[in-house]
Symmetry: C2
Subunit: 459 residues, 2 copies
């Protein structure tokens, strides 16, 4: 793809029916690049291009489109075209596509497929979203334990064109129960006449079909696997997840965590920012902002109830923004670290005391520094201000510093506690989004701030 065509040139080729040049273009680069380029065309134009090329290449390019483009293209297809495209796709891509189609469209199109493919799609789409079963593919190679290494290689060679990977082959008994696995490297290195069962790896790492897809991806990452077998509760092999799917899952989950953390709702996929409509962005983002704005009522009420104190000590009002920010910052930091450590499986809710002790120690170290900044500020800026009788700048400075220090400690602990509590309740720790946390520590912060001031300052 050294000289990619421009969109107008592609449209020109379509209008002049220049199939040969279009074919050359589709063969000129990696399918992922061709798909990226074709994305700029309309759905019917995309199909106009893909319909001119070899089915297998068309499917390879097609699976690289974003989800919404794939659905849009399928919406333009007639049944025989759908069959042609889908038949050349791998089972997991096929199931993923069907899952995203509107129900009426599924009902029109699926009967056109051959029985075996329909059954395979039904089986793969039957697992709930985000499970290992929902992302696995059924195109894997199996071997019987009494095949010899040479026989096994011959079998893999025959089956290679249809399999997602032949670098791992799974050894199963007559009921397809998983006995072990061999890599193609093992097979090549083994003496030709040795039975597979004699040198297969037995302690196979696997996922259950109902496991979280993220756990499955983490296993692939931890054990450096090319593919992970998926078995059902009976121990029968039902599919595999390959390392490239694991990378996609990890990227997707990372983005979801980060967006949840920023209180952005909705389903997330790569490359969705520009393509997502303004209204969808609004829908995904406004809910939390509104809810938290409404919750801001509470902090407003707290400020209002201390109006008398504020009129007496106007300097207190100047510390409200700093109080809110400091609480949000220190709370988000501890929450980020705890959410991440939970996601990586480094800590579990059982470690709550250990985590809180650590966070408490860190907060104890940070809090005096902020107290000193606040104290200095009172002296620098409130030096000329009128003070009620019986109050010195020292006492005001001390009260404010102490309040800020307490805010650092309480928001750090709250930031660590909320994700741990969410995990305990089997919720995703990232739901304790940074904005939600900010609002919570605002409220506790204002209570601490005015409470400390009322106790230490005379009114």
């Amino acid at each position: 793809m050294r000289n990619p065509l421009l969109v107008p040139e592609l449209r020109e080729l379509l209008s002049t029916d220049d199939t040969t040049t279009l074919q050359e273009f589709c063969e000129s680069g990696h399918p992922a690049d061709i798909a990226e380029f074709l994305s700029r065309l309309d759905a019917d134009e995309i199909w106009d291009v893909l319909s001119r090329i070899d089915n297998r290449l068309a499917a390879e390019i097609f699976v690289n489109f974003d989800d919404d483009i794939r659905v849009d293209v399928v919406e333009t297809l007639k049944r025989p075209e759908f069959v042609r495209l889908v038949t050349a796709m791998s089972p997991d891509e096929r199931a993923d596509l069907v899952r995203r189609l509107p129900e009426d469209r599924q009902e029109t199109l699926l009967p056109a497929l051959a029985h075996a493919e329909r059954e395979d799609i039904r089986r793969l789409t039957s697992y709930p979203e985000d499970t290992a079963g929902s992302v696995m593919t059924s195109d894997y190679a199996t071997l019987s334990p009494n095949l010899t290494a040479s026989q096994a290689i011959a079998k893999l060679r025959r089956e290679a064109p249809d399999k997602e990977t032949i670098y791992y082959a799974y050894v199963v008994d007559e009921n397809r129960r998983l006995l072990g696995f061999v890599s193609l490297k093992d097979l090549i290195l083994a003496p030709g006449e040795k039975p597979v069962g004699d040198f297969m790896h037995k302690d196979t790492i696997y996922a259950l079909a109902h496991d979280d897809q993220e756990d499955a991806a983490r296993k692939i990452s931890k054990y450096d696997l090319i593919a992970l077998p998926v078995v059902n509760d009976a121990g029968t092999l039902v599919g595999i997840i390959t390392y490239d799917d694991a990378i996609d899952i990890i990227n997707q989950e990372n983005q979801e965590d980060m967006e949840k953390f920023m209180a952005i709702a909705g389903r997330h996929e790569e490359h969705a920012y520009i393509r997502t409509s303004v209204f969808s962005h609004f829908r995904n983002r406004s809910g939390w902002v509104m809810a938290l704005g409404a919750l801001g009522l509470v902090s407003g009420l707290i400020v209002q109830s201390y109006e008398g104190l504020l009129l007496e000590f106007a300097v207190l009002a100047t510390f409200i923004p700093m109080l809110a920010d400091t609480g949000g910052n220190t709370g988000s930091q501890s929450a980020t670290l705890v959410v991440r450590a939970l996601a990586l499986g480094e800590i579990s809710p059982r470690d709550i005391l250990r985590v809180l002790a650590k966070e408490f120690a860190v907060a104890l170290m940070i809090s005096p520094l902020l107290g000193i900044i606040a104290y200095g500020r009172v002296f620098l800026f409130a030096a000329g201000a009128a003070m009620p009788p019986g109050t010195s700048l020292h006492s005001v400075g001390f009260a404010i510093s102490l309040a800020l220090a307490l805010q650092v400690i309480s928001s750090t602990l709250i930031g660590a506690l909320l994700p741990l509590a969410a995990a305990r309740l089997k919720l995703d720790p990232a739901v304790v989004a940074s904005p939600a946390l900010t609002t919570v520590v605002d409220i506790t912060g204002l209570l601490i701030f005015f409470g400390t001031a009322r106790i230490l300052l005379p009114i």
Copy 2:
């Protein structure tokens, strides 16, 4: 590893010198699991275990330890022990280990290695951190284009035990310039007598040694590769990066982005939360919190300069927390989406107008909703409050609503603008951390808030 030993039992085995049981233990599970378990021992005890088992297995377990444990273990080694361990490691793991050793330790240990290994380490460690060159390995398989498919398979079989992967082999000319690649699957499917040059993939996707490691990992992810070749500026093949390293890079970079976003400094690796000392946590987290606390001076000064207005309209003070939170929330949302879209290569700084137009439209939709909440709040809670003559609740409510709406719009735009500006200046967009952004939009928000109030309300 069905019945992992407890730490006291392991210590017991060490003190009674029960090498056989220790060997069985080390062979009882995946090296990653054994390493996780041994991590609970002290560095010298870990070596006491590893020194009793086969070199290759010891190295496989060893490379799964966290960075700091690996360094601690090496600190306890004598030169011959170091040589034994390091010789069994793969070149990239070896280089990674040496890179982390203190300089004097490197000087003592390296001369003990054979010349070829020393040269290899020197070459691999010569690339700057975070480049493709710094994470590649030199254990890859190469083929000459005139070998036949069967000769190529025979060569890979001979070399397999020493190579990181034999599933991709790189075709090079006599000067090691990269001509193309073949997969083991291609070789197995090709007629035995066909020369490799006739069926190799030519448009090979590669990274330059000085490319960012993240870009290399993204290529592996985008093109679903098992390995990515790394070439120097002359086009000579110098190493490969495998998919499992790509997963590690993606995980590490994701964590770094998230932590930068929360203004947590320091170098990040997986599984570091519990092992990082309280003081390191303090050092990593206090810098930004302090800097932003000091910056909070500015917002304090703004509030102070409007003290007269605040004394007149006490209700304004009750909106300061909501103003600060709303700005932080909407700004962080747009910043998160833009940082992520930049990281995925979906947008570039050139798209600034397109992004700002989109964010402006979203903010326009969110702002009236928050305006209405604020207006309602004024009526609910300030109904009985004394107002200066010539002011109605309507005018106060309108001024506050308008100010909040303007705050939503300005902080959304600032949240999108700052990462784009950082990217334009070749900085990491994530440096525009959420806390820094919060402080910026606090300042602009207070200016907007009091500015609007002063214009619309009589004093």
